[in-house]
């Protein structure tokens, strides 16, 4: 089992959609995947056609004293989803910490090849993550805010810098990509996912990218990302 999380240099980078697409791509090559939503926004399930009103999730189960595994949905054969959950009236807050999720990763290991965590955006100064994973991917966009915030991240902690929503027609974006290739040379590999309207449309249709637009450019980018992930696969 291999665990992976996408961390953002800032919020609003499309990480949930990326993670949903990556999970679908890994399942497509025969991997057993569990996607786990650690965000109180509870949006990850919407990428897999869960009803908008669905409340079940690991945090709700935890609060009600039930096993966290009560909240596992099988979306496809080999593709499962564990939403955060939602409670009527007041908001749920994640009770589980990094140590708890480390123990849960061990419990889940025999059932899945991949645990993909959708993690909330934490301030850059926050020490550590809400979950520690085998593969840590840092997500950015080729724009100045990402560039400045990248400089405040301990990049040695990450395995890959994923540049999302890349538009090669943009002079600024192509310049930034070139500068980053030079800046992170030999220290952090880069991977690009192109800007693609299909990502936005896929969520509007409640489907992961690979299901909604399998021929799209971004889908091929995500498939390349999945292949790269497979090189990090642990037994």
């Amino acid at each position: 089992m291999t665990s992976l999380a996408l961390h953002g240099v800032r919020g609003g980078l499309g990480r949930s959609a990326l993670l949903a697409a990556l999970g679908y791509a890994l399942q497509g090559v025969g991997e057993r995947v569990l996607l786990i939503d650690l965000c109180p926004d509870n949006l990850l399930g919407l990428h897999f056609n869960l009803p908008l009103e669905a409340r079940e999730g690991w945090a709700l189960a935890e609060r009600e004293g039930r096993p966290y595994t009560d909240a596992v949905y099988e979306v496809l054969d080999g593709l499962c989803l564990m939403p955060f959950g939602n409670a009527p009236g007041d908001a749920l807050h994640p009770a589980a910490d990094a140590a708890t999720w480390a123990a849960r990763q061990v419990e889940l290991a025999e059932h899945f090849d991949w645990l993909l965590f959708d993690v909330p955006q934490l301030p850059a100064a926050t020490a550590g993550h809400c979950v520690e994973t085998d593969v840590q991917v840092l997500v950015a966009e080729a724009e100045m805010a990402s560039h400045l915030l990248l400089g405040r991240r301990p990049i040695e902690r990450y395995d890959l810098l994923l540049i999302n929503r890349y538009d090669p027609a943009s002079r600024l974006q192509s310049d930034l990509l070139m500068v980053w290739r030079d800046l992170f040379r030999d220290r952090l590999p880069l991977q690009v996912v192109h800007r693609d309207e299909a990502f936005l449309e896929a969520l509007a249709c409640k489907a992961p990218l690979g299901h909604y637009a399998p021929q799209s450019l971004a889908c091929r980018d995500v498939q390349s990302l999945a292949v790269r992930c497979l090189t990090r696969r642990q037994s």
């Binding site: 100045m144 560039h147 400045l148 400089g151 002079r171 600024l172 310049d175 930034l176 070139m178 500068v179 290739r181 030079d182 800046l183 040379r185």
Partner: protein, 72 residues
Amino acid sequence: MKPGNADPADRSDDIAQLRQHLDMPDLNYQDISMLVGVQQALQRWPLLGESCRSSAQDGLLMPAPKGEAVLP
């Protein structure tokens, strides 16, 4: 180094052979066109240039401009 005597495994690594020939073991391969492109990018976008100067990253330093503090 005599022509034809090199280990066949080394023949494809022209940079390594050049480094050995010049007796400069620390010479690293540099993509000149990329370095030029990076320098042009740092000049084209002032904030990018400023951030890279202050980050003090190897290979990205460029000379500080001569004291203008006005808007472009």
